[in-house]
């Protein structure tokens, strides 16, 4: 294959992953609206390029930690779709046997060490996983996803200092969608922001257009190689836009509609589609990739809807080994 062909295959891999993430989350939103999925659902529609671009550069034995908006990270790292969809539905076949739900999806078999319901909660875990891997002589690395809201929490400061101090193999990924829940992050953040904070702690920071999947991929390719080579932690600052609200129950009507329209025009799947079309990939092929993703997720939804609920006895399992579990039959 030519270099051009390699590049095109890589772009198609990014496109495919992004379509699968988008289709998964749109399907989940529809299922949530239909009352099939209980609890809160935080989707990352518009942010797919970051997950896709980073994880394309990770090995299976590399680890990731994620946040409350983690479906894309899990899918891009290779988590099984049926296990994810069933987990959202609270069914027995979910990755967490129905005990975690959307906010706590984990698939340790592919190195996905867990989404997290606490902002910045994954940062200390990521640096510790990297420390453990380094201690065991592995060359696996850890990618740690968090949002711009996390940079105002203490564990961000403590974790970056720690990773730099011990030269740990961590790629910190700040998905900067500009909003911390319902508040513009800039309105609650002093100083010049994440890059300056990282660099003040000795963690080099690279900024990238997080809606350009090819650019994220290129940046991640370089950073992952440097980190795996023992160069110490780095931070990728990826600017993006969360097209939907904070949760499934937030219509985000508080936003300026012109901002949302601009963001829709700049969303990453459409941009990569235009680029691939320019490079000669037929629209029919691109439509087929999206259609396949939608069909895959629709089938997962239908299967999850009829999948068995967990046996109530499972509620008493996996608490701890020591001592009897209270109330267990």
């Amino acid at each position: 294959m030519t270099r051009t062909g390699d590049n095109r295959a890589r772009l198609i891999a990014l496109y495919t992953t992004m379509c699968r993430i988008r289709a998964f989350e749109e399907t989940a939103l529809a299922a949530h609206k239909a009352g099939e999925i209980p609890g809160p659902l935080h989707v990352s529609i518009g942010q797919e390029a970051v997950a896709a671009g980073i994880c394309l550069n990770l090995r299976r034995d590399d680890r990731i930690t994620s946040n409350h908006r983690g479906h894309g990270h899990a899918l891009a790292k290779g988590a099984g779709v049926s296990g994810m969809m069933e987990e959202l539905f609270g069914r027995a076949g979910g990755h967490c046997r129905g005990k975690g739900g959307s906010m706590h999806i984990a698939d340790f078999s592919v190195g996905m060490l867990g989404a997290n319901g606490v902002v910045a909660g994954g940062i200390p875990i990521a640096v510790g996983a990297a420390q453990g891997l380094k201690m065991m002589g592995s060359d696996a690395i850890v990618a740690c996803f968090f949002g711009d809201g996390a940079i105002n929490r203490g564990p961000f400061l403590e974790g970056l200092n720690w990773a730099a101090l011990y030269r740990l193999p961590v790629l910190f990924v700040c998905e900067d969608n500009g909003v911390a829940a319902f508040t513009a992050t800039a309105s609650v953040t002093a100083g010049p922001g994440v890059a300056a904070r990282a660099e003040s702690l000795g963690v080099p920071c690279l900024s990238v257009d997080g809606n350009n999947a090819a650019a994220v991929d290129a940046a991640a390719s370089r950073l992952v190689a440097e980190i795996r080579g023992g160069g110490g932690p780095q931070l990728l600052h990826a600017t993006t836009y969360r097209i939907t609200g904070h949760t499934s129950s937030d219509p985000a009507a508080w936003r300026d509609p012109t901002d949302v329209e601009a963001a829709r025009a700049a969303e990453p799947i459409g941009r990569l589609r235009a680029r691939l079309a320019e490079e000669g990939v037929s629209l029919a092929e691109l439509d087929a990739l999206l259609g396949d993703a939608q069909a895959e997720m629709s089938a997962a939804r239908a299967a999850a809807l009829t999948a068995p609920w967990p046996d109530p006895a499972v509620a008493w399992e996996d608490v701890q080994d020591s001592g009897a579990v209270q109330g267990a039959a």
């Binding site: 706590h104 606490v118 875990i125 201690m135 974790g159 200092n161 101090l165 608490v319």
Partner: protein
């Protein structure tokens, strides 16, 4: 058998297990220089800086990094320096360490031992003297260990380091100089088994951790006055030896729970409740709890002494209970 201090017993137990299992390592402030109390003395020389990691004063990441390292297969000892500092790592402990196994459907085994020297010690005042062990019994997923003798400290620490559960190990820091016999090869002591310190028929006294020597002194005084106490040191609060306590109270009919912690909301409330639930209120002739009043620990010695539990207070409480 050698007569050694409690802190030396803890040191030897950790050393024995680190020699046995290369996946065990230590992280915390000042551990490479032996730890604040010498509980890791000589470890840097023996195990090297790869396994004895002195850290920044970053409690959130000390706790969270210990968890992350456990999730990839190592077995960290997370040293909190002084118990009160764990409050800076509550998210990592309560929302992360205690939850990951359950929340992820059994995919995670957070095999960490979190060491937290607690209790009143050398007039250290309100932020260095607390006993909040009851908080952690309330959190599913955690093991709560509260030893009071050198032998128990050693044996329970060995169990902790072989457990796949996250274990909160409350070193009784005021008892670090206490001496006792500890075997050369330290065998694990199972969680959930109380130690009967004294046999008696007139009342049951249940206690744990740093206050135990005071309670034992009180029991000797009571014996000299003709009152025989059945004295149980619980050693672990989750799991705890409900069977031993219930059997004792069924025999004596009188229950006194003594802890250094504040009485209100202390684990004594749980002990009394479970005994009443199991035996029925009619089985108890008298019941009482003795702990600190619901006041922060003050600095000045006369103020601290006024509030803290001591042998004389235990004797008075026991005599009142037997007269009741």
């Amino acid at each position: 058998m050698a007569e050694i201090t409690l802190v030396e017993a803890a040191r030897r137990a950790a050393q024995q297990e680190m020699r046995r299992d290369p996946s065990i390592w230590v992280l915390g402030e000042d551990v490479a220089r032996g730890g604040l109390f010498g509980q890791y003395r000589g470890f840097l020389e023996e195990f090297g800086e790869g396994r004895i990691v002195s850290t920044p004063i970053s409690e959130s990441v000390i706790m969270g990094a210990g968890l992350g390292a456990a999730l990839v297969g190592t077995r960290p000892i997370i040293e909190m320096r002084i118990f009160d500092f764990v409050m800076c790592a509550m998210d990592e402990l309560v929302n992360q360490v205690a939850k990951v196994r359950y929340m992820f459907g059994g995919q995670a085994r957070p095999a960490v031992v979190i060491r937290m020297p607690h209790g009143i010690w050398r007039n250290s005042a309100a932020q260095h003297s607390q006993m909040l062990e009851s908080w952690f019994t309330h959190i599913p997923g955690l093991v709560v260990v509260v030893p009071s003798t050198p032998a128990d400290t050693a044996g329970l620490l060995v169990s902790a380091l072989r457990s796949d559960d996250p274990v909160l190990f409350f070193d009784p820091k005021n008892l670090f100089p206490l001496t006792g016999e500890v075997p050369e090869v330290i065998a694990p002591i199972p969680f959930g088994q109380a130690r009967r310190s004294r046999m008696g028929d007139d009342l049951t006294i249940v206690t744990w951790s740093a206050i135990v020597p005071q309670v034992e002194e009180a029991a000797a005084t009571l014996a000299a006055r003709g009152i025989s106490a059945d004295l149980l040191d619980l050693r672990t609060l989750w799991p705890w030896d409900e069977e031993a306590v219930v059997a004792s109270v069924a025999r004596t009919g009188r229950l006194l729970v003594v802890h250094e912690a504040v009485t209100t909301g202390g684990f004594g409330a749980e002990v009394v409740s479970r005994v009443i639930e199991r035996l029925g209120p009619a089985a108890l002739k008298a019941v009482a709890r003795l702990g600190q009043p619901r006041v922060p620990v003050p600095f000045a010695p006369p103020l601290e002494d006024a509030l803290k539990v001591d042998a004389a207070k235990v004797v008075a409480a026991a005599e009142a209970l037997v007269r009741a």
